[in-house]
């Protein structure tokens, strides 16, 4: 096995974004098998971090920095992976579009959810804060995501989660997506009321929810 895979794994565990990018660039430059780099390097690393998190040994900065390093490195490999280089193929566990709803500019909770989903093997597309329903849909269609995850921290912006579900119904595309919601003032009751496919109180529960929905 190429020693670089172990280095990539360690870079992810350390949450070293710069090193992850550097190693990914080396993979491309030296024409090392990118699928193996993903499977034996990036995924092995993030799995390790995910395990430590579940055991209560890792804390948020560990997981979030590892997820950032993973994303940065994978972005470098995107081109060669898309070109079909390497032996076999690489499959993520599912694609998720994640964002904070229109009118709301809070993003920390969302970022935590994104990191934990990444650590659990999902491919997360974070579209950022203050995002309209159509922005969620546009991104999902672009990348082929099935889950739209919408965050809201304020009682005044919760209604934008409802707007998202209504928008899908109005466009007759409701069945194409699973909508999940979360954020401080939200509740299971609110999720049921607006017709969301799921609600989670914590980031860990959001991971479980996505696993169930994509099964």
């Amino acid at each position: 096995m190429n020693a670089i895979f172990e280095e990539i794994k360690e870079a992810i565990i350390d949450g070293d974004e710069e090193l992850a990018v550097e190693l990914a660039e080396k993979v491309v430059a030296e024409k090392i098998d990118p699928v193996q780099a993903v499977q034996l390097g990036f995924i092995k690393g993030i799995e390790e971090v995910g395990k430590s998190w579940t055991n209560g040994e890792a804390f948020l900065p560990d997981v979030m920095m590892a997820a950032d390093a993973m994303k940065a490195g994978m972005d470098v490999l995107e081109g060669v992976l898309a070109a079909g280089e390497g032996e076999g193929s690489y499959e993520d566990k599912g694609k998720i579009v994640l964002g904070t709803v229109e009118g709301d500019i809070h993003d920390i909770g969302k970022n935590i959810v994104g990191a934990l989903l990444t650590a659990a093997g999902f491919k997360v597309y974070d579209i950022g804060i203050d995002q309209k329903a159509e922005d969620f849909v546009a991104k999902a269609d672009e990348v082929g995501a099935k889950i739209l995850a919408a965050s809201s921290l304020l009682t005044t912006t919760m209604k934008s989660q409802k707007v998202l579900v209504e928008y899908l119904s109005d466009q007759n595309i409701r069945d194409n997506y699973k909508v999940i919601i979360g954020g401080g003032p939200t509740s299971k009751k609110w999720g049921d009321e607006i017709g969301a496919d799921g609600w989670a109180e914590t980031a860990d529960e959001a991971v479980e929810l996505c696993k169930q929905l994509l099964n």
Binding site: G56, F59, L60, P61, I105, H106, I108, G109, I112, T155, T156, K159, G184, P185, S187, K189, T202, A203
Partner: protein, 478 residues
């Protein structure tokens, strides 16, 4: 006489943090999303790039100096007028919780009925000086008109001071107009501020449209405002205490500077709710020594800048009224009260880092507040009677004081009398074996049942109701 408040930072530490904050304001700057505010800062000669404002430290110091060191907040019953600042402390219920947690552990959405109940409990309490604001988020009232219903609840259910909406310029204006009707006109309250609101920064280093609109409405009419920053150390701010405090301080100073630019001398309160991030869940954690330290340091910084301070409260991360709820709440409220915080939002009712209000917790915190208010009075050594030499002489060696007139008179003046704590013998207690949570439930039901709101002049009431009706029509049409 009140107990002297103590400092927790040395002069050198204050100086270092102050300079660090000024460097943040000057070199990193603060983002204000609201265009009218950007114009104000440009007019005052501050460097502006897009929506980011880079402050001149001397300008900030000069503007902060214009803020009054204390001010009087006027109630409809003048007996409840409050001086905010100096040695004074003002307690009120929790603010902004969307949920109510019941005694048996049930979690539910807060309603307008809950809102009225908490205002009444605060009205009835001798330890709550104000009825607060947004005592819960009444989720059964439409968003557009919620601020009108909430303000009316404070007006009709009590004659104590209260807080108004800061949710955008328009809603803020409505609260101010209603308060003007209550006090006999806008001119009256411009002269004698009667409303105060909460303006929050979005940490790190931002203020949003909604809050800036609210800030402008209050500053323009000379009403008071708390300008507060909640740094979640470790997530929205650095994980070091000194770094987080520097960041908070920069944000609050930027807000105070803005208020003073709009209306020099407008009453402001230096606010802090900074605490830490729980690194296993990412959630805010408020029932801890770090929060107590941030609170006490904020009180000291407010003294340093010559403005009143808001901070602390009966703060806990517990989900139910248990020992954790009690010890955490006591720690933060005690720290706030003994180190010089003047304005304590969230004194009573909060569970789970501001997420929920609880009636039982309200009663527990009310008890804690009563204990601390007594503690703050300290020792009275001002008269011979208080020194009690005569009665000690009279009883002499080996006697007892229980049958002395001096005792009968003075224990009532000097001892804190618990409303909730159980001091019975084991046998006495074990007849019902009620724990604090269960006793608190009985207590709030009793208080609510016997509470009679102070009468409001029917003519004034009519004017306010008409205002609400007309505004509701307009707002719901949009």
């Amino acid at each position: 006489m009140m107990l002297p408040k103590f400092d927790i930072l040395t002069i050198e530490q204050v100086d270092k943090i102050h300079k660090n904050s000024m460097k943040i304001l000057n070199e990193i700057g603060v983002e204000f999303s609201y265009d009218p505010v950007i114009e104000i800062f440009k007019k005052h000669g501050q460097r502006v790039e897009g929506h980011r404002v880079y402050f001149d430290p001397e300008f900030v110091e000069n503007m902060v100096e214009k803020a009054p060191s204390q001010f009087t907040l006027h109630a409809r019953n003048p007996e409840h007028n409050l001086v905010c600042g100096g040695e004074n402390i003002i307690y009120m219920p929790g603010y902004g919780a969307p949920f109510v947690y019941e005694a048996d552990g049930l979690k539910r959405d807060a309603t307008m009925d809950d809102y009225n109940n908490f205002v009444k409990l605060a009205g009835a309490s001798k330890n709550m000086h104000m009825t607060g604001g947004t005592v819960v988020e009444p989720t059964d009232v439409e968003d557009e008109i919620r601020h009108l219903e909430m303000a009316y609840s404070h007006i009709i259910n009590s004659d104590k001071c209260f807080m108004g909406s800061s949710s955008g310029y328009e809603h803020a204006k409505d609260s101010i107009e209603m308060t003007a009707l209550l006090h006999g006109g806008m001119d009256v309250i411009k002269e004698k501020p009667a409303l105060i609101c909460l303006i929050n920064s979005v940490t790190p280093l931002k203020y949003d449209d909604r809050m800036l609109g609210g800030l402008m409405a209050y500053a323009e009419t000379g009403q008071a405002m708390v300008i507060a920053s909640l740094v979640m150390s470790g997530s929205t701010g650095p994980a070091t205490m000194a770094g987080a405090l520097s960041l908070q301080n920069a944000e609050v100073l930027a807000g105070i500077t803005l208020a003073q630019c709009i209306n020099p001398g407008t009453p402001v309160v230096y606010g802090s709710t900074s605490a830490v991030t729980d690194m296993s869940t990412g959630s805010l954690s408020i029932g801890n020594p770090e929060n107590a330290l941030f609170t006490s340091a904020s009180a000291q910084f407010a003294r340093f800048y010559g403005v009143p301070c808001r901070g602390g409260g009966g703060l806990t991360d517990s989900k139910t009224v248990d020992a954790q709820a009690g010890y955490e709440s006591m720690m933060v409220l005690f720290a706030a009260s003994t180190t010089g915080v003047n304005f304590v939002m969230h004194t009573a009712g909060i569970l789970q880092y501001y997420m929920a209000m609880s009636y039982e917790k309200f009663m527990v915190d009310d008890e804690i507040a009563g204990m601390i208010l007594r503690y703050l009075k300290g020792f009275d050594c001002d008269s011979d009677e208080k020194m009690a030499f005569d009665v000690i002489e009279k009883v002499g060696p080996g006697g007892h004081f229980l049958t002395q007139k001096h005792t009968r008179k003075n224990f009532k003046l000097e001892f804190f009398r618990p409303a909730l704590s159980d001091r019975q013998s084991f046998d006495g207690w074990s007849k019902d074996s009620l724990d604090t949570n269960q006793r608190a439930k009985l207590k709030w039901q009793e208080v609510l049942a016997s509470y009679v709101p102070p009468a409001l002049d029917p003519e004034v009431n009519e004017k306010i109701l008409t205002y609400i009706e007309e505004r509701s029509k307009e707002l719901l049409k949009k």
